[in-house]
């Protein structure tokens, strides 16, 4: 049963229905986001992210757009932190952050668009996060920038370059497959 979207004031007031809507709206999205980026415990990321939102909702100022970017910014920070913590236990190259995420590549195998996921796998993590939040989760450029912690201009430029790079990667893959065939 679909729940009517409550106001931010309802959330601040602690309305049960509002918080049930909040869980249904952002829970699966945050879980899928964490899973896409290879977090080993996506549900844990979802729970901690939504709890953080609940603790800070009293001081929150803005509308639903800001709330959405607020949720994904917390989820993004949590995912990045957890991934970095895991990476510190391993011996990695110093430019690890710019290397493609193996987990994302593994997850892409299960999707119905292996070509796109393979192209995404070759991209740096920060750019992948931007593309994911902007086009997969549907955040605006401004909300994406807020979630990532970049300026809106920098985010817009990065998204443009990322899309061009993604397109080149896909075309390159197609050219290779044609040559092979």
């Amino acid at each position: 049963m679909a729940i009517r979207r409550p106001s931010i004031a309802d959330l601040k007031r602690g309305d049960p229905r509002a918080w049930r809507w909040f869980v249904n709206e952002f829970g699966p999205a945050v879980t899928g986001y964490a899973k896409k980026f290879g977090h080993p415990d996506p549900e844990e990321v979802t729970g901690s992210t939504l709890e953080t939102i609940a603790r800070r909702i009293a001081k929150f100022e803005g509308g639903h757009g800001e709330l959405r970017s607020f949720v994904f910014s917390i989820a993004h920070a949590r995912i990045v932190d957890d991934v970095r913590k895991r990476s510190r236990r391993q011996t990695v190259d110093i430019d690890w952050a710019n290397q493609p995420s193996a987990e994302y590549t593994d997850a892409a195998i299960e999707t119905s668009d292996p070509e796109l996921m393979a192209a995404l796998a070759d991209m740096p993590d920060e750019l992948k996060h931007m593309l994911h939040l902007r086009y997969v989760e549907g955040l605006s450029t401004k909300e994406t920038a807020r979630a990532i912690g970049k300026s809106e201009v920098a985010t817009r430029v990065a998204l443009s370059r990322g899309m061009a790079r993604l397109r080149e990667a896909i075309e390159s893959q197609r050219d290779q497959s044609e040559d092979e065939s």
Binding site: N24, G32, K35, G138, M163, E171, R174
Partner: protein, 377 residues
């Protein structure tokens, strides 16, 4: 080579969205937990607002209290520094600091300035109505404001003409000292050579015997404040016999203005119609009005600038009358500061001034001298 459009790429990215289904039980528990956290957070925010308000009020109050303490302390310190009552090191430090900004604060080793304006004494210039004679023959007792004591010197020097028989001074009514500036009441009867009391403004001597001193208003001498004494002149001596001293208003030693009394009606030879013997020190011994007629050897002097003090040169003695050897000759009397003791007896040609207070050293150089005015009657 196949081209990939941007639109197709965006739609393919959007298709990647996979919402992970959540367990309903897990979702309900999570929603309940989030609700509780939100309510708790709202309470915490309200509490923080009240806490911040209280902290703000407390901070402002603290600033106010500290400010008042600081201002009070600074004012007290400045006051103590101005009066030189701080401990020596602190006084020196404060003095040096204030000197930078041009404020003169005495250092610990500074002497007090003797040129400071004196504080007027009570009773200055009080005079008693000359028309009302006092019932009390004692000039001291007749004055309500007669001071208890004035330093008297045992070294009083009295010049007496040996050719004139001395007149005994009333021992019962010794002329004691009087407070500077206090107007004395009228000495009803004074023995020759008596002093009508220091600083008492003379009212009209009722009757004065030859050689008597009808002086009143002898400014004080020797008193620290003698300069402040108003040597108010007495009223006109009605008639003075030869050798009499019609003096009134012997100005004060120090800076006192010994304004003369009114015109002596007539003075016989040897009489001293002096009034307003400006006294030692800087006193302006303003003369009285012109003696009507003076015989040779008479002293119609008024405003005899006095005696031998360092400051006597400053006294406006307003002499210029033929002070032929008269008035205040030798400024008899008194050593430093003592009010004019009365020359016991004066012969004609003598100075009838008894009780020329203040000859000599009276208070010259005292810090407070200089304010006295001998008001003319």
């Amino acid at each position: 080579m196949s081209r990939v459009s941007r639109r197709s790429l965006v739609s393919r990215l959007e298709a990647l969205r996979v919402d992970e289904p959540m367990n309903d039980v897990f979702a309900d528990d999570l929603a309940a937990r989030l609700q509780s956290l939100a309510i708790a957070a709202s309470f915490e925010v309200g509490a923080n607002k009240g806490r911040l308000r209280r902290k703000l009020v407390a901070a402002i109050g603290s600033i106010g209290v500290v400010g008042w303490i600081g201002v009070t302390g600074a004012a007290a310190s400045v006051g103590l520094a101005t009066t030189g009552n701080l401990p020596a090191p602190i006084q020196d430090a404060v003095s040096s600091v204030f000197e930078v900004v041009g404020i003169d604060i005495p250092a610990s080793n500074d002497e007090p300035d003797s040129n400071d304006e004196p504080t007027p004494l009570e009773g200055d210039g009080d005079s008693v109505d000359a028309s009302v004679p006092s019932d009390d023959s004692n000039p001291e007792a007749s004055s309500d404001s007669t001071p208890e004591s004035t330093p008297e010197s045992d070294d009083d020097i009295v010049l007496v003409d040996p050719s004139v028989p001395a007149i005994d001074v009333d021992e019962d009514n010794p002329v004691s000292s009087s407070r500077p500036g206090n107007s004395g009441s009228t000495p009803s009867v004074t023995a020759p050579g008596q002093s009508g009391g220091n600083g008492n403004s003379g009212n009209t001597p009722a009757a004065t015997a030859p050689g008597q001193s009808g002086n009143s208003g002898n400014g004080n001498s020797g008193n620290g404040n003698s300069g402040n004494g108003n040597g108010n002149s007495g009223t006109t001596p009605a008639a003075t016999a030869p050798g009499q001293s019609g003096n009134s208003g012997n100005g004060n030693s120090g800076n006192g203005n010994g304004n003369s009394g009114s015109t002596p009606a007539a003075t016989a030879p040897g009489q001293s119609g002096n009034s307003g013997n400006g006294d030692s020190g800087n006193g302006n011994g303003n003369s009285g009005s012109t003696p009507a007629a003076t015989a040779p050897g008479q002293s119609g002097n008024s405003g005899n600038g006095n005696s031998g003090n360092g400051n006597s040169g400053n006294g406006n003695g307003n002499s210029g009358n033929g002070n032929s050897g008269n008035g205040n000759s030798v400024n008899s009397n008194s050593v430093s500061g003592d009010s004019g003791t009365t020359p016991a007896m004066t012969t004609p040609g003598q100075s009838g001034n008894s009780g020329n207070g203040n000859s000599g050293n009276g208070n010259s150089g005292n810090g407070n001298s200089g304010n006295g005015r001998g008001n003319q009657d």
